[in-house]
């Protein structure tokens, strides 16, 4: 069994990765501000399989998902993204976050296809690295969590 994620990557590194992804996809001027709060909203995630097995999860406050999709898709302010657009954007953000996190972990590793829905999160333990932030006033969290045990859905990060 591999070392826990906290021995492989720290929150500062995850924040830097997220900032780079945000700048490239959401917009050069778009900043992620540190904000330590529980985040409740839709989640997207990818699995990482290799020397370290786990999942990289993006959770975004529901209030921010349409705004996020509008920014990534470069829609006009008055243009409403479809639910499919929102899901697609969340999946791709998780995919790119996951791929960049994977590149920092021991390899070789494989990345799964991104998904959205109730994320396979467990209660926080030592095999979890979580950073939370605020984007345009909307809370979001990135959770990197090992899959060493059967997953259970938490109530604080994932809506029913």
């Amino acid at each position: 069994m591999s070392a826990p994620i906290t021995a492989l990557i720290d929150g500062e590194t995850v924040t830097a990765v997220a900032g780079e992804v945000w700048s490239a996809l959401v917009g050069e001027e778009e900043l992620l501000l540190p904000r330590a709060v529980p985040v409740d909203g839709p989640s997207s995630w990818v699995t990482v399989t290799g020397p370290w097995d786990g999942v990289v999860v993006l959770t975004c406050a529901a209030s921010g998902t349409a705004d996020l999709a509008r920014s990534v898709l470069q829609l006009d302010d008055d243009e409403q993204p479809t639910a499919e657009d929102v899901d697609d954007v969340l999946r791709e953000l998780a995919n790119i976050l996951g791929g960049n996190v994977k590149s920092l972990l021991p390899g070789p590793s494989a990345l799964g296809l991104p998904e959205t829905g109730p994320a396979p999160l467990r209660a926080e333990d030592e095999d979890t690295c979580r950073v939370s932030a605020s984007w345009r006033g909307h809370d979001l969290a990135i959770t990197i969590q090992g899959a060493s045990e059967a997953p259970a859905t938490t109530t604080t990060e994932v809506p029913k």
Binding site: S23, A24, L25, L73, Q74, N95, G99
Partner: protein, 131 residues
Amino acid sequence: MRALVIDDSRAMRRIVASILEGFGYETRPAGHGREALDVLEEGWVPDLACIDWNMPVMDGLQFVSAVRANPAWRQVTLMMVTTESEHGQIVKALAAGAHEYVIKPFTADAIADKLSLLGLMPAASSPGVPA
């Protein structure tokens, strides 16, 4: 010039297509490798294919191998645009016949640099200033 943009994410297809169209490309989207092969088989053969790696139905590596196995598509330049950044994966893609490799997230400038290296930047376009 023509480009086929192959990615299971509509958002990413739109971003890549927007950049390429800013450089003067005519683009067509495909949601996975099999759909992209269908486009080639119908006779729409592009100068460039931008290919994601992880996709359902047929992944990017399988698509690259299929294109390289058909001499009629020899002129298609294959550029992986993917989150797969492990050295072993890059080597595998290049060995299968990909010409270039761009890791997500990327900037329009990074795409422009790769196109210039490949000799695929339309003369009238201005690198780094996509739509």
